[in-house]
């Protein structure tokens, strides 16, 4: 068994993570403004989970993005690509200046993460319900090859509409994939309506638990709690772990929070300035 080196003892530096999450949100807002691209609010709701993962949890080396022993992180809600691109650039997978090419002609940063094109992107996503099956395959590959890496998949709540998510949930439980962790960005909205008025997700934690997962509800904006829960994978339960992260769509900017217009709207220059002020960024 090739055991990845992991600093499990370290407590998350919550203040530093919070500051990082604010910077990440700022970068996402900038990108959305510049590209006039959709899915800003979806990117903001998962910014704390992304921060916890990339700045505390994942055993990764941006200089060696294909290290066989690295932890895998799959942004299954691929429409939050801006959050992933900003994260990867800030971590040093590619130059931060490349973020200026987001959605521009001929670039590597399209509106959804690409396949085999950009370092750090584990899987091309955008069609929902694909990340968890892929992640289960990755986890089994690790098991077969004797590599102890972990696999994290960040899902949207709307994504839980897809049957393939539940196929994979049952499969992961049957295979006892304790190295797999799902984080559901439960912001209560999908593209055009309230999630629970579209397909009934509630009680979402109970559903994941009933499917054989060690399922927990968590404050999806408590970056310290997220960091500790994700770092604790595998957690000794012998089961895959689902973190139902309660979040607010558009989190961090008062006039975007819980307003689903920001699923598609992009901010004006003036709104960017207001957002930065609220985030404590200059």
């Amino acid at each position: 068994m090739n055991v990845a080196v992991r600093n499990t003892a370290a407590k998350p530096d919550v203040a530093a993570l919070k500051a990082q999450a604010a910077k990440l949100r700022g970068k996402i807002i900038e990108m959305s403004h510049k590209a006039q691209a959709a899915h800003l609010a979806s990117s903001l709701s998962c910014a704390d989970a992304m921060t916890a993962a990339y700045w505390h949890v994942l055993n990764i080396d941006p200089k060696n993005p294909t290290d066989p022993l690295r932890d895998r992180f799959i942004l299954s809600k691929g429409h939050a690509a801006a959050a992933l691109f900003a994260t990867l650039a800030m971590k040093g997978y590619f130059p931060i200046e490349e973020l200026d090419t987001y959605c521009q002609d001929g670039g590597r940063l399209a509106e959804h993460p690409p396949a085999n094109l950009l370092p750090g992107v584990e899987a091309a996503t955008g069609s929902l319900g694909h990340g968890l099956p892929l992640g289960c395959g990755m986890a089994l590959a690790g098991r077969i090859k004797g590599e102890s890496y972990r696999v994290f998949a960040l899902l949207s709540d709307g994504e839980n509409n897809e049957g393939s998510v539940w196929e994979a949930a049952m499969f992961a439980a049957a295979q006892k994939l304790e190295n797999v962790c799902v984080v559901v960005d439960y912001n209560k909205w999908q593209a055009t309506a309230r999630s629970n008025e579209t397909l009934m997700l509630a009680p979402l934690r109970d559903k994941w638990a009933a499917f054989g997962w060690d399922a927990h509800e968590i404050d999806g904006h408590d970056v310290g709690a997220l960091a500790e829960a994700m770092q604790n994978i595998p957690n000794g339960s012998g089961k895959p772990v689902a973190l139902i992260a309660h979040t607010v769509k558009g989190k961090g900017v008062s006039f975007m929070e819980d307003d689903n217009n920001w699923h598609y709207r992009a901010p004006t220059a003036e709104e960017v300035v207001k957002s930065f002020k609220e985030l404590g960024l200059s």
Binding site: A115, S127, H130, P133, L134, A139, L140, I144, E167, A168
Partner: protein, 307 residues
Amino acid sequence: MRNAFADELTKLGNEDSRVVMLSGDIGNRLFDKFKDKHPSRFFNCGVAEANMMGVAAGMAMNGLRPVAYTITPFVTTRCLEQIRTDVCYHEAPVTIVAVGAGLAYSGLGPTHHACEDISFLRSIPNMVVICPGDAFEVRGALRAAMQQDRPVYIRMGKKGEPVVHKGPIADFKIGKAITIEEGSDVCLLSTGNMLPEVIEAAHTLKEKGISAEVVSFHTVKPLDEDKLKQAFSRFKLVATIEEHSLIGGFGAAVSEWLVDSETQHKKFLRFGTPDAFFKKSGEQEYAREVLGLTGHQIADKIIHALS
């Protein structure tokens, strides 16, 4: 064909620790030998094909050589988006093996027929489409698929088909058609499990004084263009034969090639299934007879076309 597949897979599993078998809850006892030898590399993925294909892609993206297997419609159209996005977009070396192609499971009804799969799969970038003509071609195709690094679709019949080749095909190559019988008047390009019918057609033609060349055109994508060029230049009639819809299948691929390559040709016939579901009960032989796909019917139509 399926027994040859299971046997060859077991051999490949012994030779290569990257080989993993994923079954969609099918093949009762078929994989016992593989399971016995490699229990950690066999997964019954249940009746959940979308997940199975995603799992296969995730494995292939991480250094393994998974084979995903179940009945044709369920391992193709049921999880087509996973094939397109997870497997082909990522260029993940997944080998998809389908059992019961065409009307092999005729008696089970249209839910289990597969006369559209070639059409769907060959239109996806990065996908290779192979339709073996007999059990030895299944073995060759599977071995060739494992020796390269791309997605491959292998479309099998079921079991008990006549064996055409005399033994293992040492030089089986993806994209290189195999001449089974040489001839001089007409050229019969067969793909998949129609091969025995096509050989029968050639023998019927011979009795009528018509010399037919029989080619097992096992790879539909990429096409063996050299073979096509020879066929259309040498013979006064070329026919494609497949147990698949005339829309989008092998004959359609050859038609596209003819137009795009501006190849001059004489007579060209396409044999395949019509644009309709086959709703009547009955086994494969009956279905072929109704649809004009038996050896003697193929021969009759060719004689008519030549007259």
